[in-house]
Structures are given as C-alpha cells and as structure tokens.
C-alpha cells in the first residue's frame, strides 16, 4: 500500500499551520516512533502477564499454613509496595546490574541483563505485589462454607484453590485488578529513566531534535488514552463474560 500521500499531507499540514508531526513525514522519526510504540506494547504485555501470574501464586502462598513461605512473600510485598518504582528501576539497573556482567571478549564486559529486561522484571514485581493483595482480598471474600464444601468433597488445598476458590476470587478481584493494570501500563513510561526506548523516551528524543514539544505531548496523551481505553474495554469484556448470574458472595 502506498502511504506516501498520507505522509505528504502531514508535511503540508506543517507548512500550512506549523503543526509539526515529524513522526508521520520524516522516515527516521517515523521508524523510531513506531519502534518506541512497539517497545511500549511489548513491555506492557510482558508486565501484565507476569504481574498477574505473580499475583495468583503470591495470593496462594499467602494463604499457606507454612510461615517459611508466608514470611518471604510478605517481605517481597513490603519491599516492592513501599518503594517508588523509579527508585527500584535505578536500584536494579545501576546497583544490581553492575555486578551481573559477562565478558565480551575484547577485555570489555557487557551487562548480563538488558535495560528492557530490568524494566520488565521490576515493573512486573512492583505491580505483582499489589496483585497479590488484590487476589488475597478476593480469596478472603469467598465464603468459608464454599471451601469447606469443597474439602468435604475431597479436594486437596491446591485443587480447591485452582478449581473452586480462584475462579470465584478472580471475579471478585476484577475491578481492583483492572485499576492496578491501568496503573501499570501508565507506569511503563518510567522505563525511559534507564533508557529503554519506549514511547516517552522516543518522544523526548524527537521533541529535542525537532522542538515540537506541544505536538508530541498531545500525541503521547492521545495514544495513552487510547491504550488505557483498549485495556479497560478488554477487562470489562472479561468481567461480563465471567459474570455468574445470581451469584453475589
């Protein structure tokens, strides 16, 4: 498909009105902004999946009878919930990353973990800590009688958790989870601090080069409103599909 006329229109828009959207008509800016967009999407997707998995596992451990399991989970939640995500990023990238290095052959060493991976790890654990508490609140809202009924039917603790408690708890947790995931995808922008080339980082580079700050700010705003909108839409869909008519714990 020939997109040249569209790009040309944005160049004409710049000449006519001064609205300078280089991300459409300048091939270099277009390519890097698109890469930034994809990097953001990748980071968001990885973090959403990992943080939900961490939340489910963590909430299960929180209900365990073993203190050896509960205490470290509690420690993890406190660590990630009580520190700002930006501080965590710096901590992992500059403090921990300094020790995780491999030799590159020519006498130089290169980092073992890339900045993208650090951002993904850090943000997943950060949102995961909140998800653990969100799922725990869901689990505790499931009536004790339901668990007893499952146990009397011969379910083990794990099986009862997977087949009975979690499906009900998940439904109760959805609105709170929704909130946290929206927060998470907006927080991925702080990855720019460790030079992960995501959207904010790329936009910053572009407006430094082209000096089109208001245009890029508006582009960023619109894209984030759109992305959060899509996430909320999906989450509401899931909520509606999972609704059990008449069930109100």
């Amino acid at each position: 498909m020939n997109l040249q006329p569209i790009w040309g229109w944005f160049r004409a828009l710049h000449d006519a009105t001064g609205i300078n959207l280089t991300i459409f008509y300048d091939p270099f800016d277009r390519a890097r902004f698109f890469d930034g967009f994809l990097t953001s999407i990748r980071l968001m997707a990885v973090c959403i999946v990992c943080s939900v998995v961490i939340g489910v596992i963590g909430a299960w451990i929180q209900g365990s009878r073993l203190r050896v399991l509960r205490l470290p989970t509690q420690g993890y939640i406190q660590f990630f919930r009580n520190t700002p995500p930006l501080v965590q990023l710096y901590f992992f990238y500059f403090a921990v990353g300094a020790y995780l290095r491999v030799s590159a052959g020519n006498g130089l060493t290169t980092p073992l973990v890339s900045n993208f991976t650090w951002a993904a790890i850090c943000l997943s654990f950060w949102a995961g800590a909140f998800n653990v508490e969100i799922f725990r609140s869901g689990i505790e809202a499931v009536p004790r009688e339901t668990l007893e009924a499952a146990e009397s039917l011969g379910y083990s603790r794990l099986k009862a958790y997977v087949y009975v408690i979690l499906p009900l708890a998940f439904r109760i947790s959805l609105p709170a989870l929704n909130n946290n995931l929206v927060n998470l995808i907006k927080t991925t922008t702080i990855a720019y601090a460790i030079a992960v080339p995501e959207m904010l980082y790329v936009a910053n580079q572009i407006w430094s080069d082209e000096l089109n700050v208001p245009e890029m700010m508006n582009v960023l705003l619109l894209i984030y409103v759109g992305l959060v909108g899509v996430l909320v839409l999906i989450m509401t869909r899931i909520e509606r599909i999972l609704r059990i008519p008449g069930y109100m714990p």
Partner: protein, 270 residues
Amino acid sequence: MITLRTFLMAMVVTLSATAAIPANAQTLDTIKKRGVLIVGTKADYKPFGFRDPSGAIVGFEPDMAKEVADKLGVKLQLEPVVSSNRIQFLQQGKIDLMIATMNDTPERRKIVGIVEPDYYASGVNIMSNKKAALKNWEQIKGQKICGIQGAWYNKYVAETYGAEIVAFTGTTEAQSALLQGNCIGWVYDDTAFAGLLSEPKWAGFEMSLPTIKEEPWGLAVKLEDLDGPWGKFMHDMLVSWHKSGHLIALEKKWHIPPSPYLAELHDKFK
C-alpha cells in the same frame, strides 16, 4: 455519550492550553521590579556549571550570570536546567535568561531568542573505554553509545554512523552507565570531556576520535525579548565580554583548555 463529550472537551482544553503563548516582552522591567534575575544554567556540566561541595552552582556560566545580575544591580537566582527542559523553562518564563551550554542552531533560533554574538563553541566527540580502541567514527556502527536526552547530535550520530544511542536524563546516569560498561562510549561535548578526563576515575577512558560538528554556543532570552530592551542589553553584554577578553579570563579561571573560537571573537571585537 457523556463520557465521549467530556473527553473531547478535555482534549480541546489541553490543545488550546498548549497553543497559548504569552506575548509580553517586558522581561527587563519584570526583572528590575522583582529585584531578582533568574538564570537557567547547567548543574551537571563541569566546569561550565556544576555544584561545589556546599551544593552551590558554580562555574563558567554561573560567573557570566553573576556579571549580568551585578550590572543590573539585582540579586541572582540560579535555576539548574538540563538539555531536555531548558528551552521549555525559558518559554514558560520560569527563567529570564538561559546560559546552558546550548548550541546555536537555525531550528532553535525559530523558537528562542538566541542573542548574538555566541559566547563559546564546542564540538561533538566520544569518550570511550580504552579497550574499545576506537580510531574512527565508522567503528561505532551497531555499537551501544551512551548519550544525554535532548542533545541534538544524538539523531545525527545515529543516522550518520549507525550507532545505537542509549540516552539518559542526566550526565550522572550516563557516566554510571559508561563506567559499568552498558555502552562502549559516551557521545557528548568535547569541552565536557576535557574536564572529566583529568579526573583519576576516568583513567581507563580516552577521547580518541576527531571532534566533529563544531558549533557555537548561544545564550538565549524569550523570542519576543530578542529585539526588545532585554535582548539588546544581553547583546551589549556579550560584545563587551568579547572585547575585554573577560570570557578568556573565565576560561583560565576554570582551567578550560583555550578555545580558538574565543580568541577569534576577541580579535574581531577588539
């Protein structure tokens, strides 16, 4: 659809807010009335603008700012800026004057009032790990090179030499990343490296490439002020600095290697 309408209204408000540019050009009067001159300088660019052990911002550019404040007979307030926010600070009126190692480029002249003549000049170079053994610019193709967000040459170096620029918000982050080996070199102003390479911390590093893109540095006022009294005042200030050789004296004071650019302008205005 209430939500859609509220959303659209919010967008209109945002768009119109960013489009509104204040049109007053009475900055000189404002400064005199206020009794304080607010100057944006670097605080992470030794020796042009950096923090001394007490936390105060000192250096070549703060000294220039002090001269201006003394001449006006007002107090001086220094506002630390970085490359990616200095132009916005000036446009929004957070600072009256920007002396922040900014290259004078035609694009920037369209949005801020860069006062003639320029006060310094620097080029672009790479401080790299000696083990990387850089001999020419072509060697950085596909390599990770640290940078500073907001520097105009990031795009140039990426486009021309194919380097992968890893840009950080401040020089401290870029320095840590370079020391840790997250990139093989750091692309920045040669004038900044001259100061750094004298420190023992950077013994394993070198500036082995020829300097490219030598460009003058301009100090700036708001675009509306450029032809007004404030812009004229700064123009006269700059001419007198070049004439008296004051900038060359400042260069000596801060142990900066003599710049041919300053010598040339001193001769021109003498």
